[in-house]
Symmetry: C2
């Protein structure tokens, strides 16, 4: 299971039915939280996310609509008795902000909180776990901002059934082969795993572009992605305003997804001025048909 | 108009239908915000509070459920183009927390934000405006914490109609007399205002006790109040736990209101463990019949 669940799809000013940015990426039995606007902990409860499974949190940048909900969530984890460690990847300034608030409340978290600072401009792998590889890359915004590329690792090697038959390996042992085991035949000869399997095929990839100006230099990160999330704060007619505020439009996001030959595009971070989101699809789909509104409470399989 | 509107009545962990502490006190055309838990700006929108009328914000203490929503609200005020100044009264540590977050986001507020630090243990008047006098007093909690006494000033002097008649002042002039004006008679003699009026009678008073251990030393602040808000985090059976966590129970809040000879008691800050709030009334009303649950979205005339 590799999927993303939208908890908020609005830009800076929350509205009654649209919350600031937060997304849950599910990777098998692990949950990642990407951005954490105000009220995220309530959205997590509303959509019955298994909050105890959240092991990693990624904050793209320090505009409030992407992180003001974090301190409340960290606090609630502690009040609810969490003991599993938690890692937060974020711009360095966030660490002091969190610590001051914990100190002011006399709060000792009941779990280990690791803070991994993302230095302005950095790009590269920031996390490798059994199931996933996460990389960050800078986007062009008013302040230091990061996108995240989340790739689910395929753990199972690809079996070559013809070869397995040549070595007379029983089918019952195939799942062990996929896990990388060698096979010892009854006559004492060893069949090495890589004689009968190929390395795991490349995993699926979700690329979250955070807040950004329209920027073709992101293409190497987006190229071939199974799903891209790209902001569309404004419709096409407000292209000038988008540029001025380091945001993007429908046409820009869809063009990037098309150039990247991505499978699908999720759009969000809509300006509060829009109540009807249908025009966002009308402007993107002619350019990139596989575009979807990031609907709050909806899970998209990657 | 002197009233309090409840925006949140829950303790630390928000639930889906109960939010952390925040209250709007309406005093004629001015609004005061007392505490500002996470999501307060959304509650303000939901209950159609005229947010631009908020001129003063009072933060009782720096546990997150009383202030995590403040930075988001301050930010939104600016994004919405507020220009009127705003004053925040809070424990001193909050100033650096706010400033760090504004700096990290590269945010320049578009309005003047005054921060008035409430030093631990201080009690006394902190604000005198044309309509109101606000005092703070320390409560006993795990960290420095303040209650607030908000008194609406009666501006109009009390007319003595018999005396006004003695001096042959026309009834059309009575409203001027109530505003404090003298009266010049046609024969040139001056009727001094205090010959025909008495000072304004004492204004109504709302006392917000924030988070607190059961503490009879609060009585001088509560005595004779028109409305008291007192937390009842727990029912009576959890008195020991309440004490241990510096909180109060139903029986304790009702007893204080009775001893204070207050007019009415609002109770709130309910532990998330309770889904049914009816028992809170069943335990308080036998001791203090004029007790009400602080219901979210409800306005109580003081």
């Amino acid at each position: 299971m590799f999927a993303v669940t939208i908890l908020g799809n609005n830009s800076a000013i929350p509205t009654l039915d649209r919350h600031p940015t937060a997304q849950i990426v599910t990777c098998n039995d692990q949950l990642l939280l990407v951005d954490c606007g105000e009220g995220t902990q309530i959205q997590i409860a509303k959509y019955r996310i298994r909050r105890s499974k959240i092991r990693y949190i990624f904050i793209s940048h320090l505009h409030g609509d992407h992180y003001f909900g974090l301190i409340g969530l960290l606090n609630t984890f502690s009040l609810m008795g969490r003991t599993e460690p938690l890692s937060v990847y974020a711009p360095p300034e966030l660490q002091a902000i969190l610590q001051l608030q914990l100190d002011a409340g006399g709060t000792q978290l009941k779990y280990e909180l690791a803070f991994i600072p993302l230095t302005a401009g950095y790009s590269g792998v920031i996390l490798e776990d059994k199931d996933l590889v996460v990389s960050c890359f800078p986007t062009q915004h008013r302040i230091s901002c990061f996108g995240f590329s989340i790739e689910m690792q395929k753990r199972k090697r690809k079996l070559i059934p013809e070869q397995a038959k040549v070595y007379e390996i029983p089918a019952a042992y195939y799942s062990k082969l996929q896990e990388g085991a060698d096979y010892l035949r009854k006559d004492g000869t060893l069949v090495k795993n890589d004689w009968v399997t190929l390395p795991p095929c490349k995993g699926k990839r979700y690329v979250y572009c955070a807040d950004t100006l329209y920027d073709v230099s992101l293409l190497p990160w987006l190229s071939g992605a199974d799903m891209i999330y790209h902001e569309t704060t404004y419709l096409h007619e407000l292209e000038a305003r988008a540029a001025e505020r380091f945001h993007s439009t429908t046409v820009q996001a869809a063009s990037l997804a098309a150039s990247a030959k991505a499978q699908r595009l999720l759009i969000g971070h809509f300006s509060s001025k829009y109540t009807d989101l249908q025009p966002f699809l009308e402007e993107t789909r002619p350019i990139f048909p596989e575009t979807y509104i990031a609907e709050e409470g909806t899970t998209y399989i990657i």
